[in-house]
């Protein structure tokens, strides 16, 4: 037996000795509890005790069934939403992005950013300005 084990044993013995409560007060408490037990016999169950248990069981079953149906409905709705989102994500996009090269995609993107300054729109604006200028000169 090692010193450590002996030390641990000593500590445990001291601890269990210190745990022994005062005998007289402990006995008094034990007697009090015994008298309490004798003064409190097991009560007779009511006539509706077992039917009451079954009623509660049925009630809980019904509520768990309702919850089960609700959970199933919720799961079905989640699956439907997932399918719809998946279909939307899989719908064909601009073919340039899917089939063209990286450079083609960059060009398309660049052109779309320049949209407001497109050449035919600039030509239209300049024609409008010319006609306005002419009308001012006539006046």
């Amino acid at each position: 037996m090692s010193d450590l084990q002996r030390l641990a044993g000593g500590i445990m013995m001291k601890f269990s000795n210190s745990m022994q409560p005062d005998d007289s007060s402990d006995d008094r408490l034990v007697k009090l509890f015994r008298a309490y037990r004798a003064a409190m016999p097991d009560p007779e169950p009511g006539a509706n005790f077992t039917p009451g248990v079954w009623a509660r069981i049925e009630q809980r079953r019904a509520s768990s069934n309702w919850f089960g149906r609700f959970a199933k409905g919720l799961a079905a709705a989640a699956v439907a939403a997932y399918v719809i989102l998946a279909m939307m994500a899989a719908s064909p996009q601009d073919p340039v992005f899917l089939n063209g090269t990286y450079v083609d995609a960059l060009v398309t993107d660049h052109n779309s950013k320049l949209e407001p300054y497109h050449l035919d729109r600039v030509a239209q604006i300049s024609t409008d300005l010319d006609s306005e200028h002419q009308s001012l000169e006539i006046e």
Binding site: F33, Y36, A39, D42, T50, V53, R56, I57, R60
Partner: protein, 213 residues
């Protein structure tokens, strides 16, 4: 065991009549245990029914019928905890909350109904109920199971799922707390007796003579 293992196995398979037999066998014992843990007699049956409902829905989880009783006690303890936690919100009515005059009036009223032994039993019940009511739910339930229900440390080990040493420490501490309360109780009742002796002398106060009347 109040029932045979075979009956428990039948109930586990879903046999309603086997379950009914288990309820019939254990309901009185469970009602008794609960009545000694919670202090409202009107709620005892309610909590006991809850125990059996929990038993019904968890019976299939029981691996061996040998541990049925500790397991039923565990369900009972848990149901009592739940009840006590809920009832913390409701104010509890105890004899110790009454004024001295009210206690004397209650004693007088009760005295006409209970004689001798009954009155002694009632006093003991109130004393222990007050003691257990003054400590925590954990201490109350543990002490009731050990000291009042007479369960062994082995049974308690299975119910609480802790080792014997830990249980001994918990029991010791719970007992110490209750003893402390008991000392206070004795001191208070001694003071009350002294006060009664003083007020019982000629020239008593109006309050005492009113109570006597």
């Amino acid at each position: 065991m109040l029932v045979e293992f075979g009956l428990i196995e039948e109930a586990q398979k879903g046999d309603a009549s086997a379950f009914n037999q288990i309820v019939s066998a254990y309901r009185r014992r469970i009602l008794g245990t609960i009545s000694r843990i919670i202090s409202r007699p009107e709620d005892v049956e309610d909590v006991a029914q809850e125990v059996f409902v929990r038993l019904y829905f968890s019976l299939e989880q029981l691996r061996t019928p040998e541990v049925f009783e500790p397991w039923l006690y565990r369900l009972t303890v848990n149901a009592c905890y739940d009840y006590l936690r809920k009832s913390k919100r409701k104010p509890e009515f105890r004899m110790s909350d009454l004024s001295e005059q009210q206690v004397m009036m209650a004693d007088a009223a009760a005295g006409s109904r209970f004689e001798g032994d009954e009155s002694e039993k009632r006093r003991n019940r109130e004393m222990v109920a007050e003691l257990l009511g003054a400590v925590s739910e954990e201490d109350r339930i543990l002490l009731t199971l050990k000291e009042v229900e007479g369960l062994s440390l082995k049974d308690l080990e299975k119910i609480y799922d802790v080792n014997e040493n830990a249980l001994k420490v918990r029991l010791f501490r719970a007992r110490q707390r209750v003893l402390k309360k008991h000392e206070e109780q004795l001191r208070r009742s001694g003071e009350l007796k002294d006060r009664k002796t003083v007020t019982g002398a000629p020239g008593t106060s109006a309050k005492t003579s009113e109570a006597k009347g």
